[in-house]
C-alpha cells in the first residue's frame, strides 16, 4: 500500500504560552517551540504500522518554508520512507483550500492508495483532508481511530463520534482519512534517530513543478483572510486566588467546603 501522510509544522501549544504581537498582525513568534502537529504524529505512526503489516511505502508531505524540513526529517526518523517539501514564495498565506490544492497537485504526480491527514492542526480548522478528498473525488472519512486493511480494494474504518462511539465504515481505496489522536501510541524518536535522516534527500517542489498557477494559491487564491489576532475581553473569568501557596490552598479549602466539594 502506497500511503501519503500530510504533516504540518506548528507551534507546540502545550509547550508555549501564545501571545499576540504588538500590532495584532500575528502571534509573537520569537522563542516559540515548534513541533509536528500532534494529530499528524498519530497519522504517521498509523501509516508506518499499516505498511509494516501489508508492505508498501510511507511518504510524508508538507507545505511550508525551509524550516519545515525539520519535521519531515523527524517523521522520516519515525520510519517514513520518503519525504517531500512543497515550498514556494507564492504558497505563502494560502488558506485551507490553497493548501489542499497544492497537495492535490503532488498527489497527481504519484500513485497513492491512501492519504492520511491529522484531524486538525493549530488553526483548529480540520479542513485540508476533506477538501483534498473532494478535489480528488475520493471517499473521505474524518476522525478515524481504527483502520483495518481488508484487501487491496477496501478498508474498514472506525470514526470516533460523540460519546466516544465508533461509526464503523467500509471504504473503497483510494481514499483520504483524517486521523484522531489515540488511534495508536506514536513511537518516540530521539535526537540520534533524527540525525540519521540528516543526509536523506528531501525533494522540494514549487508551483512550477506542480503545474500550479500563482493566482490559484497564496493570498490571491484565498477566499478567507485573517484581519488580525486578538485576545478577547476576559469578561467575567475566574477569580484568581492570590497570595502564598499556603494562603491560596487555605482559601481554596474554604471555598470547596462551602460548595460541597469536600465530602
Amino acid at each position: 500500500m502506497e500511503i501519503l501522510v500530510c504533516i504540518k509544522r506548528v507551534p507546540d501549544t502545550s509547550e508555549n504560552e501564545i501571545n499576540v504581537n504588538r500590532d495584532g498582525t500575528d502571534i509573537e513568534r520569537d522563542d516559540l517551540v515548534y513541533s509536528v502537529n500532534e494529530w499528524d504524529n498519530y497519522a504517521v505512526e498509523e501509516a508506518i504500522q499499516i505498511r509494516d503489516r501489508v508492505c508498501g511505502s510511507v511518504t510524508v508531505v508538507t507545505v511550508g518554508d525551509e524550516e519545515t524540513e525539520e519535521v519531515v526529517r523527524r517523521e522520516m526518523a519515525m520510519g517514513a520512507d520518503k519525504g517531500v517539501l512543497l515550498s514556494d514564495e507564492v504558497f505563502k498565506n494560502s488558506d485551507g483550500r490553497g493548501i489542499a490544492g497544492i497537495i492535490k497537485a503532488e498527489v497527481k504526480k504519484g500513485k497513492y492508495d491512501l492519504i492520511l491527514t491529522g484531524a486538525q492542526a493549530d488553526d483548529g480548522a480540520g479542513q485540508v483532508g476533506g477538501m483534498l478528498a473532494a478535489m480528488l473525488d475520493w471517499p473521505y472519512a474524518s476522525l478515524a481511530t481504527l483502520i483495518e486493511v481488508t484487501d487491496d480494494k477496501k478498508i474498514k474504518v472506525g470514526r470516533e463520534i460523540e460519546g466516544g462511539n465508533l461509526e464503523m465504515l467500509e471504504i473503497d481505496l483510494p481514499c483520504v482519512l483524517s486521523i484522531q489522536t489515540g488511534i495508536n501510541e506514536p513511537r518516540y524518536v530521539g535526537i540520534r534517530g533524527i540525525r540519521k535522516t540528516a543526509s536523506a534527500e528531501i525533494p522540494v517542489h514549487g508551483a512550477g513543478d506542480l503545474g500550479l498557477s500563482p493566482e490559484s494559491v497564496g493570498k490571491s487564491g484565498s477566499k478567507i483572510k485573517q484581519l488580525d489576532y486578538f485576545v478577547p475581553d476576559a469578561g467575567e473569568g475566574a477569580e484568581i486566588l492570590e497570595g502564598s501557596v499556603d494562603e491560596i490552598a487555605e482559601k481554596l479549602v474554604e471555598l470547596l467546603k462551602a460548595r460541597g466539594g469536600i465530602k
Binding site: E17, G163, Y229, F230, A238, G260, G261, I262
Partner: protein, 327 residues
Amino acid sequence: MVRQVFAYIVHKEGVADDTALEMVAAAKRIDSDASITAIVAGTGADLNVVCNEIASSYQEVWKIDSEALSYPNAEAIRTLLVRILPKEGLIIAPHDTFGMDLAPGLSIKLDAAYLPDAVDIEGVDENRLKAVRQEYSGQVSTHVVCDISGGAVITARPGSFKADESKGAGGQVVDKTAEALEGGFPETGRRFIEVAEAEVGDVDITKSDILVSVGRGIEDEDNLEIVYDLARAMGGDVACSRPVVDARWLEKSRQVGTSGKTVKPKVYMALGISGSFQHQGGIKGSPFMVAINKNPKAPIFQAADVGVVADILDFVPELTDKINGSR
C-alpha cells in the same frame, strides 16, 4: 436584498440537536432579516417529528426522506445538498463530528468559501462576511473575512451562539426528497456498517458529584498519584481530558468531553487542562469549577469560577495536605 441562509440540522432519535437553535442565532448574526431554512435529512416518523419541532424556529424546513438516510452518511448527504442548494447559498452546520465530516468537502463541491469553527459572526459588508475564530487551542482569537460572493459553508462551534428561543417562525415543511434524489441515491465509496458503542469502565463519572479532572499538564503517568490523593481527600472521582486517555494513562470511560462522557458534577477541579471547547462540551449543569494551571492565559480560566495559577505538581499535594489537615 434578503439573504437566504440554510442550516443543516443534526438530529438523533427524533430530537434535533441543541445546535439547531444555535444556528438560527448564527444566521441572524449574518443578516438579521435573513430568510432561514433548515435542511433535515433522515427517514420516517422520527424525521417528521424533527421537522415539526424546528418549524417554529425556521421559516422553511426542507425535508429529505429516504430509507438510506436512517444513518447519516456525510458522503451521500454532501451530494444531496449540492443537488438542492442554490448557487451562492450560505449554509451553516455545527462544528461537531458530523459537520467536520461534511463541510470541508461540501465547500469544494459548491466552489464556495469555507469558514470553519466560527465562534462569532459580526455581519456582512458587501460580500465580505466577518467572523471570529480561535487558534492555538483557544489561546488567541482572530477576525477573519470570508469572500462569500460564491457562497459559503460555515461551521458554528457548538455552544458558542446562544440558542434562539424566539420560536414563532411559523415555518413550512417542504418535501425536497424528489429533487434531492433525482438521479437516484448517491453512490459513495463509503458504506456504513454499524455503530460500536464505547466501552463501559469501572467508575461511572457521569454520576459523580465531585470530579478531580486531570489533563496533559500532569506530564507523566506516575504523577497521577497526586490526583488520586486529592480525589480521595475530597471524596470525589478522577476524570481526565483526552490526551491522558490517548497516552493510555487512564481508561476512556474517564474522559470528559464531546468524544467522551458528559458529566454534571457539583464541583469540577480542572488540573493542567487547557479548556478546549471539546473538553468543556462535556461539562454540563454549571458546576463550581476550579482551574489550576501554570499558564494564566489558558482558556479554562474563562470558564472557571476560581483559578489558581500554579504548577499542579507542587500545588496539588499542598492542597491535599490542607484538606486532610482541616478535618
